[in-house]
């Protein structure tokens, strides 16, 4: 299902520095990889290895200091406009209903005269369908404060997907959820992937999550942030949570845990 054709996201020798008191600190260095169209890749690694910075580079929110970022073959020079993002914090707008939150991307696109904007009725239909997919049918008029953490995160995911982005960037999106809800979200992610064509980049601390969702997992090290290992995940799609307990998955998780422990101690 994934692979073939041009890669959706290409990083070639990408590096990024933070200026900290005059002295630039190397946040990322020498990152070269390609994400095939329609695939989801995951980045795991110790805190401070630049995982989130990598995500921002892919979205064009920041520009690389070294190297090139290309999305769909074109060099990224400013924030992309066909990306969906979701974070650990769902950052819904508390003054808008669930539907109002889902229509926010539409309002932004329409003001730019973007052809994807379509009309409102069409978007409302799309919002209803998406909400039904994530198990929130009929929640359109509810306020974010009335929802549980898991429900808010679903709405946040819907908002990231409603404009049918080609690229979905997830920064520890399920980290604040309880274990049971988190696993539900993994299966939901599989389901959404089957229905929609999007390329995914996931940043996570949860190795089982990475194994469940990603085609390839990159293990990163810090100082400077770099990719030290790449693991193709030997499980077919769509995956279930149960598959993450199969021997191949368990072994991969153990391997990555050991690798992260080693890079965290400073010996990559």
């Amino acid at each position: 299902m994934a692979g073939g054709g041009d890669p959706a996201v290409e990083l070639a020798g990408v590096g990024f520095d933070y200026a900290a008191g005059g002295e630039p600190i190397r946040a990322l260095d020498g990152i070269s990889l390609a994400v095939p169209r329609g695939a989801t890749v995951a980045f795991v690694g110790p805190s401070g290895c630049g995982k989130s910075t990598l995500l921002k580079l892919a979205a064009g929110l920041i520009m690389p200091v070294r190297g090139d970022v290309r999305v769909n073959g074109a060099a990224v020079t400013r924030p992309l406009s066909n990306v969906g993002m979701a974070f650990q914090n769902p950052v819904l707008l508390p003054w808008r209903s669930v539907l109002g939150n889902l229509l926010l991307p539409l309002e932004i696109l329409r003001e730019h005269g973007d052809p994807r904007a379509g009309d409102r009725a069409q978007w409302e239909g799309r919002a209803r369908t998406l909400l039904a997919t994530v198990g929130l049918a009929g929640a359109e008029r509810r306020q974010p404060r009335e929802l549980s953490g898991g429900m808010r995160q679903r709405v946040s995911l819907c908002r990231a997907l409603i404009h049918e982005p080609q690229l979905l960037l997830l920064d520890e999106p399920f980290a604040a959820l309880d274990a049971f809800t988190r696993e539900e979200m993994w299966e939901l992610h599989q389901q959404l992937r089957q229905q929609r064509e999007f390329t995914g980049v996931l940043v996570t601390h949860d190795l089982r999550e990475a194994v469940c969702l990603a085609q390839t997992i990159y293990v990163m090290a810090a100082n400077p942030g770099r990719v030290v290992h790449a693991h193709p995940v030997p499980l077919p799609f769509p995956r279930t949570v149960a598959q993450t307990y199969e021997p191949a998955a368990v072994e991969l998780i153990a391997t990555m845990r050991e690798q992260i422990r080693r890079v965290a101690r400073g010996a990559a």
């Binding site: 979205a59 924030p79 974070f87 003001e111 908002r159």
Partner: protein, 249 residues
């Protein structure tokens, strides 16, 4: 039947007045020092005409100063909140100016504008301006980075982010600042009226005090309290209506 949140404070106030009345009688306090509430009420009824005239004057003065403060406060708050340069340059100044006791400005204002309504309006303005500007700036400056990123990857411009997110999320702070600003504007106009005016409750109280008319001075105080509570109540109600989402959690 009045709701509990109105009834209970009214009962507490009535109890306070009763204790006050009883204490003055029991300890034989001189009326010129502390009059009985009933005597104050009597004086208020007797001087209802002049009190109403001065109360209206104070109210108009306060509202003009308050209105100007809200208008300019919002403008400056927007400027500071929308631009990082304006924020870094102006926010410290704002905090600095705000720490100047505004009452100390009254002699200057009198020197420039003479005795009358203008110094009172300007003092009300000065006291009400800062809370509005600071709150609006604060609301705009504290936008979550994640939310900004979500919108930017949709191609949203700064102006769109400001309009769709910055302004709505600043509203609760803005309305909260209106309550504070209304009360501050009252303080400002009355301070100026007590020292440099020919009308207003502040002027009335100053004259009453110089005549040792304690009852009338207290009467003025009650009228001020009533007007302050009224304005606060209006803006609190507006706030609840406009930004219910900010209070539900």
């Amino acid at each position: 039947m009045l709701p509990r949140r109105v009834l209970l404070p009214l009962l507490a106030f009535a109890l306070l007045l009763a204790v006050w009345e009883a204490a003055v009688v029991a300890f034989g306090v001189q009326q010129i020092v502390l009059p009985r509430p009933s005597a104050i009420a009597e004086t208020m009824v007797g001087t209802a005409g002049p009190i109403a005239f001065h109360a209206r004057h104070t109210l108009v003065t306060t509202l003009i100063g308050f209105g100007a403060a809200v208008g300019l406060g919002v403008l400056l708050g927007f400027a500071i909140g929308a631009s990082a340069v304006a924020h870094d340059a102006l926010y410290p100044l704002l905090v600095g100016f705000n720490s100047v006791p505004k009452a100390a400005m009254v002699p200057l204002l009198v020197m420039w504008f003479g005795i009358g309504t203008v110094p009172a309006v300007l003092t009300a303005f000065l006291l009400a301006f800062f809370p509005v500007a600071v709150n609006v700036a604060l609301g705009l400056a504290t936008l979550e980075a994640e939310l900004r990123d979500v919108l930017r990857v949709l191609g949203a411009s700064r102006w769109q982010i400001f309009r769709k997110v910055g302004v709505p999320r600043t509203l609760p702070l803005f309305f909260a600042s209106l309550k504070v600003a209304a009360a501050s504007a009252f303080v400002g106009s009355v301070i100026a009226e007590t020292v440099a005016a020919n009308a207003g409750i502040g002027y009335l109280m100053a004259v009453a005090a110089s005549d040792f008319n304690t009852r009338l001075a207290f009467g003025g105080l009650f009228v001020l309290a009533a007007m302050g509570v009224l304005l606060y109540g209006i803006f609190a109600a507006v706030e609840r209506r406009m930004t219910a989402w900010a209070y539900a959690e």
